[in-house]
């Protein structure tokens, strides 16, 4: 069994957990108390294919290309929350886009296959709680081959 989607998300959590100075890294946790900050949460992403417009006689179990767009939330409360979030964002992008296991073994980008990893962008929010709070939501696209016979 090969489930590339799950492999991507599991590795993504490992990569995110390696970002220096994070106090917690979790997957799909929607309830974060302040003592877990700075925190990163990996949210499972939606998937899309172009198969809806595929009117060929291709058998349904033939491989197809899938694009998954997981979201990663980084939250922090601190005096210098703006600088903290910027630093964490920089580490996040660099680590996801350059991780050898994600690129070479799971998604198979570049010379390793026809997969791709892209940073799509981010949105930020700030507000006051016990101290200044900041959050960043970053989206990535993972294009990979879905092989129904291997699921």
């Amino acid at each position: 069994m090969v489930d590339v989607r799950e492999d991507i998300l599991a590795r993504l959590l490992e990569v995110v957990a390696g970002i220096p100075n994070l106090r917690s890294a979790q997957r799909n946790n929607v309830d974060i108390p302040e003592d877990l900050l700075p925190a990163a949460i990996v949210f499972d992403g939606d998937e899309e294919t172009s198969d809806a417009t595929d009117a060929t006689m291709r058998p349904p179990n033939r491989p197809t290309l899938v694009t998954m767009t997981p979201e990663i939330v980084i939250a922090q409360q601190a005096d210098e929350v703006g600088s903290d979030i910027t630093t964490l964002r920089r580490e996040l992008i660099r680590r996801v886009l350059t991780d050898a296991e994600l690129n070479e073994q799971i998604v198979k980008t570049g010379r390793h296959g026809n997969g791709a990893i892209r940073y799509l962008g981010c949105q930020t929010d700030v507000g006051w709680m016990r101290s200044l709070h900041g959050a960043l939501r970053a989206q990535f696209a993972f294009k990979y081959t879905l092989k129904p016979d291997e699921l």
């Binding site: 799909n28 946790n29 929607v30 309830d31 974060i32 108390p33 302040e34 900050l37 925190a39 949460i41 949210f43 979201e71 939330v73 939250a75 409360q77 601190a78 005096d79 210098e80 929350v81 703006g82 600088s83 903290d84 929010d125 700030v126 507000g127 006051w128 709680m129 016990r130 101290s131 200044l132 709070h133 900041g134 959050a135 960043l136 939501r137």
Partner: protein, 118 residues
């Protein structure tokens, strides 16, 4: 005219108020006042996640502040200590009374002491 300070605020503060120390920014002078702790649960949404914390705040009577020589210009960046914690006033909102805003309350919006804008 009803004296809302004597008939409303003072009895409420006598019952719910706690001792506090107010120190205006850049001064060493302490003023002993009474505040009502108004620290509330607060959460902020970040995408699908909800981060939970508190929104610290405290009510004080403007006449009491004035009696202690504390003017409105002294509010922001002052240190306010009560219930075992020290806070910095980051902002405030006035709660006027029927006798006029100078006889009403101020709600101090607080942040952890030693915190600066990020």
């Amino acid at each position: 005219m009803i004296d809302y300070s004597a008939l409303l605020y003072d009895p409420v503060y006598a019952e719910l108020g706690v001792d506090a120390v107010f120190v205006a920014a850049g001064t060493a002078g302490e003023a002993a006042i009474t505040v009502i702790d108004d620290t509330r649960q607060k959460s902020l949404i970040a995408g699908s996640a909800e981060v939970r914390s508190v929104g610290p705040g405290a009510f004080a009577r403007i006449p009491e502040l004035a009696r202690n020589g504390i003017a409105r210009a002294d509010y922001v960046d002052a240190t306010l200590s009560f219930n075992g914690r020290a806070w910095t006033v980051r902002s405030y909102e006035l709660r006027g009374s029927p006798n006029g805003e100078d006889f009403g309350e101020v709600r101090f919006l607080l942040k952890e002491a030693a915190s600066t804008d990020g």
